[in-house]
Symmetry: C2
Subunit: 477 residues, 2 copies
């Protein structure tokens, strides 16, 4: 590996768009994961040409380049495990076109998800893949991780919304992938491969995205369950019934207690709650879906069932779920809420077993774990609350996660539903995809022969995520 | 290239599953395209192991292998342009699992589309990507071409329905791609790359597919237009309005005349008709969509508008569209209906211009061309009616197609919406994808270094489709 030539970076980006201060580098050495590693420099491109110039230079000089969006990745996707240059894409944040007659928009990768939705709203449209981090997550980052969120059950994930893109390849070449039309059968549709590739195959510099009409009606409901298994069975029945929820969320007892404790919401502390929503242009159709889900919840011993079209009431119903993330952070001053094994997907029929397994494993390993998530998409979220100063808690977390992923794979689930693999989940990913790992590496090698684009991630990541990088926490020795 | 060792094939497949008779080889030398080339042998695997064994042998012996489903491909995807072994997948036609609670099914690639839908029907479910050729098209072939049909406007194409698959690679390795869950963010999601790769990257031996509930209500409508541009404007307005048609078809005057002539349907010979459909579980919601589309058609001077929920009446409305394909074949005994430039996609706002361009180009080049298609997905179909015995008609067709694709690209369209590229459309494909052709070839080279899997297609196809292979027609000298 050659050394980095700062003058070359200044030439491309100008002094003002380069950071090499240790404090800046420190900040860009972590994302929302547990990992930390120092980059050599952070650069902020303003246009595609600069991205191409950087890649041409880095490819020649064998310097790792790590593209980065909002930094909200949960498993170390943008942590520069092998050093190199972090490519901060947030300046490339123009919405280039909103084409209503042809129902697509073109955006730069640094556009924040909420900003895109703000721009679409006056046209009665929205971009549905939106993850919970939409206030900071960028479209580029969402593409890199095939992000999705509460509405993926009805509207799909990022990959479903991407019609095409412009991508800078590791050698600096600019290619146009995909199309501007809803259907395409023109050969290898490589834009779909780029989605979920976590910045290891190319740098998205423009994306063409689909959008959909904002529904006239949204109705939300909640049902409480005394047994996790009943809530899980209700999820399975709802999905098998042909119902079309626009949201179907599960929240377990640990999560409810956390929200009550830190937010004083006064939620009934049951084993699990299901939050369900239907949407549409016609009230009768929304009623139909909501009633169907309500009846199924009842049949599975759901109680305290309420539903509402009223925005305020809907916000109240969703409050427990919405505040969960901050609530878990404030649960106990001595505990940190870490994103580890945080978004597995399992078949609907195993959702309750999955939640039960999480509780069992947490208890056994002396850590606190929640189970919640977008059950309608098969996605189960967890957080591990632990005292990050204690080395043995990391050992427990490692053990717990290994057991959890073993279960995920045993029920035909997949390691990540919507947060990606990065560093934290590489061990399970490598076992899950064992028979295709060589193929993945072949693709990586073909597109990035010098291995400079976000190296050391996915199939290249170390098996032990605890020691893969430094940790973003002080751990007692 | 080594010569093919028939004893090796007998060893793998048994005598009864090998064809080397010239008459058999002749039949497997063409599909629904204009092309013809002779394979060296046709083999019928019964299981994955045989496919692996064949590939291991062929990869070593450098013999081309061409996987083939129903043979309904329209642009020569399965025509063995470089000879070799045709792998007839029709015996691998088991539906392995219909998992209702987890909402997926697993099928072998030789399952015929209609058969899958017959099996799903008792459960109230259907597989929506279904192309018009569903009576013979196999799931494997549909995956190879990212097939779709009249309902893609609402339900998407094959790629949207494929959750995962098992694939035999050119070297004989078996890999599992994708997942069993609705969302997945576990690294490169290569099953999406396999969809649309036309049998050049791997052989799908099992697919995991999503399905959806059969709607309780379907309502269909038709509107006539005196000007093609008005019909086109109506399509654009419908799609921009946020309406959710489950079908939106355009049929032009040439198509209407053809159907009247050969089927005696007595359709009003207007410039264009739009056929529109909405579906759903609640009648009020279907009414809402239908009325919205009706109003838009009226606003754009649509006339004779009728709509119906009645299955018989719906069949009547759709009859003209349904019978179009056979009608064009019987239009004139001296003319053949050829699939050339037959499924371009253009942005909605250019749909009318596209149809107009087709008419203009046909007239100029002395051939008959129709314009019809799934306008709601941006897909325009055409057929060229020509006297295939006359060499100058082929020259005219070549000229016409070149002009048409130039237009498609000029309006940000794409060469193929749902039939694939194969041989017939390679010239336009190569121009359209010029900046990514090297990348496509890099991927091909990485996965199939010996170039034995369906070689000579897509970016490898000759530029001149007329001379690329023999033609499936006798042409006068």
């Amino acid at each position: 590996m050659k050394t980095m030539d700062e003058s070359k970076l200044r030439e491309i980006f100008g002094e003002e768009n380069i950071k090499t201060d240790p404090s800046d580098l420190y900040a860009f050495g972590s994302d929302a994961s547990v990992h930390h590693a120092m980059p050599w420099a952070v650069v902020r491109p303003d246009n595609t040409r600069q991205v191409q110039q950087l890649m041409a230079y880095a490819n020649e000089a064998l310097i790792p380049v790590i593209p980065r969006g909002g930094g909200s990745g949960m498993c170390g996707q943008t942590v520069p495990i092998r050093g190199g240059i972090v490519l901060d894409m947030k300046h490339m944040n123009r919405i280039l076109e909103i084409n209503l007659p042809d129902v697509y928009c073109r955006v730069e990768p640094g556009v924040v998800d909420d900003d895109l939705n703000l721009a679409l709203k006056p046209h009665g449209m929205f971009y549905p893949p939106t993850p919970a981090s939409s206030r900071i997550a960028t479209i580029g980052g969402e593409i890199a991780n095939n992000a999705s969120g509460v509405r993926s059950v009805k509207y799909g994930a990022t990959r479903d919304a991407v019609l095409g893109m412009k991508v800078v390849l590791p050698n600096g070449d600019l290619v146009t992938l995909g199309a501007h039309t809803r259907v395409e059968a023109s050969g290898y549709q490589l834009h779909k491969l780029m989605v979920g590739s976590e910045g290891t195959l190319g740098i998205v510099v423009e994306a063409t995205l689909n959008f959909v009409p904002i529904p006239e009606y949204r109705c939300m409901g909640i049902a409480n369950f005394d047994h996790l298994a009943h809530a899980g069975a209700a999820v399975g029945s709802i999905m098998a019934s042909g119902a079309i929820p626009s949201m179907l969320e599960l929240v377990d007892s640990v999560a409810i207690k956390a929200v009550n404790k830190t937010m004083n919401l006064g939620l009934k502390e049951v084993a699990a709650s299901l939050i369900f929503e239907a949407d549409g242009m016609v009230r009768e159709a929304v009623d139909y879906e909501i009633n169907k889900m309500k009846e199924i919840c009842k049949k599975h011993q759901g109680s305290d069932i309420t539903t509402s079209y009223d925005p305020k009431e809907r916000a109240r119903i969703f409050m427990g779920r919405k505040k969960l993330f901050p609530a878990l952070s404030k649960y106990d001053d001595s505990l940190s809420s870490t994103s580890l094994a945080d978004d597995m997907a399992v078949p609907y029929s195993r959702m309750a077993d999955m939640a039960g397994k999480i509780h069992e494993v947490a208890k056994k390993n002396n850590i606190i774990m929640t189970a919640y998530g977008h059950c309608g998409s098969g996605c189960m979220h967890t957080k591990i609350l632990m005292d990050t100063k204690q080395p043995e808690q990391w050992a427990s977390a490692r053990k717990a996660i290994t057991e959890i992923y073993e279960f995920v794979r045993s029920v035909n689930g997949t390691t990540s539903a919507e947060h990606g693999i990065g560093l934290s989940k590489a061990a399970s990913f490598k076992v899950e995809k064992a028979d295709s790992l060589r193929l993945l590496q072949t693709i990586k090698q073909a597109l990035d022969p010098n291995n400079i684009l976000n190296p050391g991630k996915l199939m290249q990541a170390p098996d032990d995520w605890v020691t893969a990088t430094g940790l973003r926490y002080a751990v007692n020795n």
